[in-house]
């Protein structure tokens, strides 16, 4: 058991949080998630928001990360990877892999003569009429998706 100490006169651990309070009013506004944006995101993600709750969640995330605006990043280069100073290792041009068709198709639900099978392509996702306005009845995880 840790017995709470009553006082640390010379503690190196600060006695109170030192975080900056962020003035939420100074943050950029969350861009409006119009039906167009939602449809675009659904098409690019190929999953559905499902309902108003999904849109709300996205709005909240954006709202939350908008606080990054208060950080001054002028002249700071973006950091992709902590290995930015490292050199990419080069592999010799030898055939060391493949020849494992059985493994490759072993997890596929559907195959025809060792080919993977996809439904016809180049058909845009069908638009599903959905209501993203408040008061949708439920947040059910099952939907009439992809009908």
């Amino acid at each position: 058991m840790i017995h709470r100490s009553t006082s640390f006169l010379l503690s190196f651990v600060p006695s109170a949080p030192s975080w900056t309070t962020i003035d939420e009013n100074k943050l950029p506004k969350v861009p409006e998630l119009t039906t167009d944006v939602i449809e675009l995101l659904e098409r690019l993600s190929l999953v559905e928001f499902n309902n108003k709750a999904g849109v709300d969640r996205l709005t909240k995330v954006i709202q939350s990360v908008n606080r990054l605006y208060t950080v001054d990043t002028d002249g700071v280069e973006p950091l992709d990877t902590v290995l930015e100073d490292r050199v990419l290792h080069l592999r010799d041009d030898d055939v060391t892999d493949g020849n494992c068709r059985k493994d490759i198709i072993s997890n596929a639900t559907k195959t025809v003569e060792d080919y993977f099978v996809a439904p016809p392509g180049n058909i845009p996702l069908m638009k599903i009429e959905r209501d993203y306005k408040p008061d949708t009845k439920s947040d059910s995880t099952e939907s009439d998706s992809a009908t």
């Binding site: 058991m1 190196f12 993600s45 996205l58 954006i62 996809a118 016809p120």
Partner: protein, 548 residues
């Protein structure tokens, strides 16, 4: 016996006072008896028995000569279910990969096998590692073994308790149904089938996302476990479950075969009951892997044991003031202070330092995480592997259905957010901004280390393990923001960190403190952590009463 450290178990295997088969059966027995923790989702008992058999033969053949024995010969381990294991289901606790059986072993798993480790099972987690409580899993939540009141010793009739005989054949119910079978039908988020003796939701979460591995180590199911650490997923549950959890320097351990959440941040995590143990496992797994271009190729890392006699006099321990964050519990603050004092009293130089961008790190983490998630999840379409929706109208329609059905709400939400941040029109504003802030966070660490600090000392989590009902009252993102607050900045910087149990809170629950080291100076950091461990003399959870 199951509270032994890895090192102790190995020496007993070596001196013959314990056989590999016996040890394996003990661990299986413990896994079965602690099944309601829901730590293991795919038991691999028959494979484990075979591996233990080989180990037993090796030990009897080599006897006490240790030269030919492998480093982990016969040692039971558990692997988080996002590491690929050849021929063994690897689900990421997602419906998407419910039936996925990888044709290969992750490099780190392979290296453990090569040294004779015995795989006992795959451990539970948040779906694809997206969570910090191990509550968002298709298999149901993981329960923290601390302060947990088990029911099965009382409800399971006498006789069936002799599970070693029950599970002897591969067709036995224990394996055939397994925990996978047990929880398959459980609705996500409502908990396992076995409510235990607690009032609904009163038990503690294990932390996450590697909660299954942490719970397994704490409960004595295994001597070491693999987790993964993207923003704290190894350290957070380790802290909550009272075990040691190591996040190595980025690039030290291969990620090949670790099903990715955020490639640029995550590393395989190591969990065990002592600092020496995580060091042993790190030594075995570290090093260049031709399959992972981000593994280090130079000799900046040397495998070695940690010294026994440690002197901290020459050390400079930094206390980052920003880690006193809003919401820090008095218990944790107290433990932190005590630890700082210990170092001071032992002659180390202890100073307050500043990492000014700490509070923004979690925001930066959210943006980068969502973006990489959106990208990494794009491969799950139901064609080559994974859940395939019953929809053949068009490729996109089929993809949409597979992905909608296969991913839980948390994953889907992050995919949306990631794609939103990555849109051409938002890229600069969100993604690049987050990357710039990431540099500032990394530079904060670089600066304090350049100023002479050897190791930073911070809390690992704000509090001890929260109750399940409290934890699930808020959404995944909200919990993430508070749970990963002290852990994810380390991932931003790529540096090593380890959480070590620091004691019990007034609730009788463990909490850990975090040591943060310099890039590739994992050994120096672990040595400091070991000294601290020696001072604390933390008593591991002992569930031996379940054996009776």
């Amino acid at each position: 016996m199951l509270s032994l450290s890895l090192k102790e178990a190995l020496s007993r295997l070596k001196d013959g006072s314990l056989s590999a088969k016996e040890l394996c059966e003990k661990c299986i027995d413990r896994a079965v008896k602690t099944r309601e923790l829901n730590a293991i989702v795919t038991p691999t008992y028959s494979q484990a028995r075979k591996q233990a058999e080989v180990a037993a033969q090796t030990w009897s053949r080599t006897g006490k000569s240790t030269t030919s024995a492998r480093k982990l010969e016969g040692l039971p381990i558990v692997v988080k279910d996002n590491f690929c294991t050849k021929g063994v289901h690897t689900t990421c606790a997602s419906r998407m990969l419910e039936n996925y059986v990888p044709p290969y072993n992750a490099t780190v798993v392979q290296r453990l096998f090569t040294q004779g480790a015995v795989l006992l099972g795959k451990s539970n987690m948040d779906e694809y590692g997206m969570g910090s409580g191990s509550v968002d899993s298709i298999f149901g939540p993981v329960r923290n073994p601390w302060k947990y009141e088990f029911t099965n010793t009382r409800t399971i009739p006498e006789g069936t308790l002799d599970t070693s005989s029950l599970l002897a054949s591969p067709q036995s119910p224990g394996e055939a149904l397994g925990t996978r079978g047990l929880h398959r039908s459980v609705h996500p988020g409502t908990g396992g089938s076995n409510p235990g003796l607690h009032e609904e939701g009163a038990w503690r979460v294990a932390g996450g996302s590697s909660g299954g591995s942490a719970a397994a180590v704490a409960a004595g199911i295994c001597f070491g476990a693999l987790g993964s650490d993207t923003g704290g997923s190894t350290r957070n549950p380790s802290s909550y479950c009272g075990v040691v959890g190591l996040k190595s320097s980025y690039g030290l351990l291969s990620r090949h075969g670790l099903i990715p959440l955020v490639n640029s941040l995550e590393v395989p995590g190591i969990m065990a009951r002592s600092v020496d143990d995580v060091n042993t496992l790190q030594n075995i797994m570290a090093g260049t892997d031709e399959h992972d271009s981000t593994t280090l190729t130079d000799d900046r890392f040397v495998t070695s044991d940690l010294p026994e006699d440690i002197d901290v006099k020459h050390l400079h321990i930094g206390i980052p003031k920003e880690y006193h964050a809003p919401g820090l519990s008095p218990d944790v603050l107290d433990a932190w202070r005590r630890a700082a004092d210990k170092f001071e009293q032992a002659g180390a130089k202890v100073t307050e330092v500043s990492l000014p961008h700490t509070q923004y790190s979690i925001l930066c983490y959210i943006v980068l995480c969502c973006c990489e998630v959106a990208s990494n999840m794009a491969r799950y379409d139901g064609i080559e592997y994974g859940h395939r929706g019953q929809q053949e109208l068009s490729t996109e329609q089929m993809y949409a259905m597979s992905r909608h059905e296969g991913f839980n709400e948390v994953v889907r939400g992050r995919i949306f957010a990631g794609n939103f941040f990555l849109l051409r029109r938002n890229y600069e504003q969100y993604f690049l901004k987050a990357q710039r802030v990431r540099r500032l966070i990394k530079d904060d660490f670089t600066r304090v280390f350049d100023e002479g600090v050897n190791v930073l000392l911070t809390p690992t989590t704000l509090t001890d393990a929260p109750r399940y009902d409290w934890f699930t009252a808020a959404d995944n993102r909200t919990r993430n923001e508070e749970q990963d607050i002290f852990t994810q900045p380390i991932n931003m910087a790529g540096i090593p960190a380890v959480t070590v149990p620091a004691g019990l809170t007034s609730n009788g629950l463990p909490i850990g403190l975090q040591f943060i080291g310099q890039m590739f100076k994992d050994k120096e950091m672990l040595t400091v952590a070991k000294w601290f461990e020696q001072q604390v003399q933390f008593e591991n959870l002992n569930l031996d009463h379940l054996d009776n």
